[in-house]
């Protein structure tokens, strides 16, 4: 994948397929320590232990439409070639947590890419599922929780294309703000 945000979209879709109704996405960019961590947690049905052993084997998949599953193996390969790793923690009926780590400055690390588009694509395509997105860059963070939005603004339709358009812009400008806050502190 060309962007890490595309991996995030892909792994989040796995959680939805696993029957989750809430997906957490945490991104931590500790640039001073040169580490990047991505955590995607769902509350779906979890994975059986025998599948967990072979989670990054592309020829092991729960799907029935084809015999190859590449989502996790691709992310694992992306992390491992950047001096990072991929771990999967799962409990039956409680959910699955996928953690990918990277060396931030590694020459092979794909850019984060359009994370705002990833988040709004998830929100628009899955109206019945809640998403909690937290993005931290060196101590500054931004968060979005569709459960709170639905509670605070019950008459705002999150599948309305116009709302989605403004939401995408809003996330993009918040992330730019995070970047500039960091620059102002001279880091």
């Amino acid at each position: 994948m060309r962007e890490l945000s595309l991996h995030i979209l892909d792994i989040a879709e796995n959680g939805i397929t696993a029957g989750a109704d809430c997906i957490h996405i945490f991104i931590t960019e500790a640039r001073s320590a040169d580490r990047l961590k991505i955590v995607i947690r769902d509350n779906g049905k979890g994975l059986p232990p025998e599948k967990l052993d072979k989670i990054t084997d592309p020829f092991v998949t729960t799907r029935t439409t084809r015999r190859v599953g590449l989502g996790l193996p691709l992310l694992a390969a992306a992390a491992r070639r950047c001096d990072g790793d991929l771990t999967v923690d799962t409990k039956p009926d409680e959910g699955t947590e996928v953690t990918a780590t990277f060396q931030c400055s590694h020459i092979d690390r794909a850019p984060m890419g359009d994370i705002a588009a990833t988040i709004t694509t998830l929100i628009m395509g899955n109206p019945d599922i809640d998403f909690v997105y937290t993005h931290m860059i060196d101590g500054n963070d931004f968060s979005l929780d569709t459960r709170e939005i639905k509670k605070d603004m019950p008459d705002l339709s999150l599948t309305d294309p116009v709302v989605i358009h403004h939401l995408t812009d809003s996330i993009r400008s918040s992330l730019r703000q995070l970047e500039s806050d960091k620059d102002e502190r001279g880091e």
Partner: protein
């Protein structure tokens, strides 16, 4: 902690209200963007973005957009399925932003199936 604040949401709502009429009625056109690993790697998110922009412009309340997983035809991704009431679903193959815009404008809005991009009738 920076958050998407209520003020941001209110602004979004104000802007949206100005730009959209009241939405009501049932959806009778469904557009599915297939978002398996294969679709995403081939550019399904960009196709979805183009579709969202067209949807925002068209302001039609009878069209529903959903995402789904892989349907097993990975080599022709990104795939998009258009289902209109009373007609057979059409699967489009090898989609990109421009093709998506054309399919939306011609097939979804005007009912002209774009056979040049179609994979098959289902």
């Amino acid at each position: 902690m920076a958050k998407l604040t209520i003020d941001d949401l209110k602004k979004i709502k104000e802007k949206s209200n100005k730009e959209t009429s009241l939405r009501h009625g049932d959806a009778n056109i469904k557009i599915t963007v297939h978002m398996g690993t294969c679709g995403i790697a081939a550019g399904a998110r960009e196709v979805m973005n183009a579709l969202m922009e067209e949807m925002a412009e068209a302001d039609r309340q009878d069209i529903r957009v959903v995402t789904s997983g892989c349907m097993g035809m990975c080599s022709s991704e990104p795939n998009v399925t258009v289902e209109t009431e009373g007609a057979e679903p059409i699967v489009y193959r090898d989609m990109d932003s421009n093709k998506m815009r054309q399919v939306f404008k011609r097939h979804v809005l005007l009912g002209e199936v774009q056979t040049a991009f179609a994979l098959a009738r289902m």
